[in-house]
Symmetry: C2
Subunit: 198 residues, 2 copies
């Protein structure tokens, strides 16, 4: 005898999540069995809702319930700046800061020759389309500080600058609250290169 | 702006699982967003099915889709032995061994004065009921080797022995393939106490 069919199926589903192997999946499945019925139903509903009710904004590519998204629709935001990020969660991280009031553009990936991701595979064409609008004065590139993120930033900068738009990149350096002692060399180098007069 | 409502709800659900904090829940929610729609639907269905289609066997307390469970219904099994475990997953672990052909009884817990779990809170009454059947000759107590598991084993043994039924306990000792060097003292003590002539 193996696990009863419903448990086996749930184990299989849990194992599709990142970082969850068979043992953890079995533990989670049995835990689910002991959960309150309403909690399990809410969980199932939330799973379906995430796929059914969320779409990508046709302007900026961010995830949203309505199209265009709240931010693109918001007339109080500064339409002269577009901040370019890799993923929707980066938009949410930026919004948590509460100090950026421009617009966003989500690439949904980065250029990666290793993985065969070229400019046509990510959301670049629609960004260029948006720049034809005279309002845009600055593009802030906020891709991650990885090799692919840097290469994408460089690619976009070369593509956009000729149009007379200012292209900037987020500052890299030491995290606030971090110890120099524990910083890696690349971060330290960026911190020294980007030093500012007091 | 916080996360869109559907994501926030899914994060909340993931956080109800053991060992999953907010950061992991957010990561899983965004991962879910990128999963294939059919996989997410299967996941939701499996969650609901686990609560809806599984019940406890009215005889042994094991989880089952039909009542009585497959094992209790199986006439080829030895009805003179009942193996008592704490949880349904212990039954599945035993069945994996493929060498035990008797019946089971699932307690759904252990006696724990610390947590206020007394004999009436776990599935003991129905075990005693089953013992009135003349067929039962031996009860193997396979509760875990924890303080509560040992106490429960002792309690059951005192309750059952007067009825003239043999009560046994699984052997404790070194795991197969383990090093004596790394075994804890209690396990070593059990291994010495339980030594057998070669």
């Amino acid at each position: 005898m193996h696990y009863p069919e419903p448990i086996a199926k749930l184990v299989e589903s849990y194992m599709k999540l990142p970082g969850i192997g068979q043992k953890t999946a079995v533990r989670l499945a049995f835990y689910t069995l002991d959960m309150k019925e309403e909690d399990v139903n809410a969980f199932a509903k939330a799973l379906i809702s995430v796929k059914r009710d969320l779409h990508f904004c046709s302007i900026c590519g961010n995830i949203t319930e309505e199209d265009p998204c709240e931010i693109c629709q918001d007339t109080t935001r500064d339409r002269s700046i577009i901040l370019v990020v890799e993923e929707p969660k980066d938009v949410m991280a930026m919004e948590k800061m509460r100090e950026y009031h421009g617009l966003y553009h989500v690439l949904h990936g980065v250029l990666s020759p290793m993985e065969g991701t070229g400019p046509e595979d990510i959301n670049i064409a629609s960004l260029i389309q948006r720049l034809h609008d005279d309002e845009v004065k600055e593009v802030i590139i906020a891709t991650n500080a990885t090799t692919e993120g840097e290469a994408t930033a460089m690619y976009l900068s070369r593509l956009i600058k000729p149009a007379g738009i200012i292209v900037t990149r987020l500052a890299h350096g030491l995290s606030v609250g971090s110890d120099i002692e524990y910083a890696d060399e690349v971060t330290l180098l960026k911190a020294v290169e980007g030093r500012r007069e007091l």
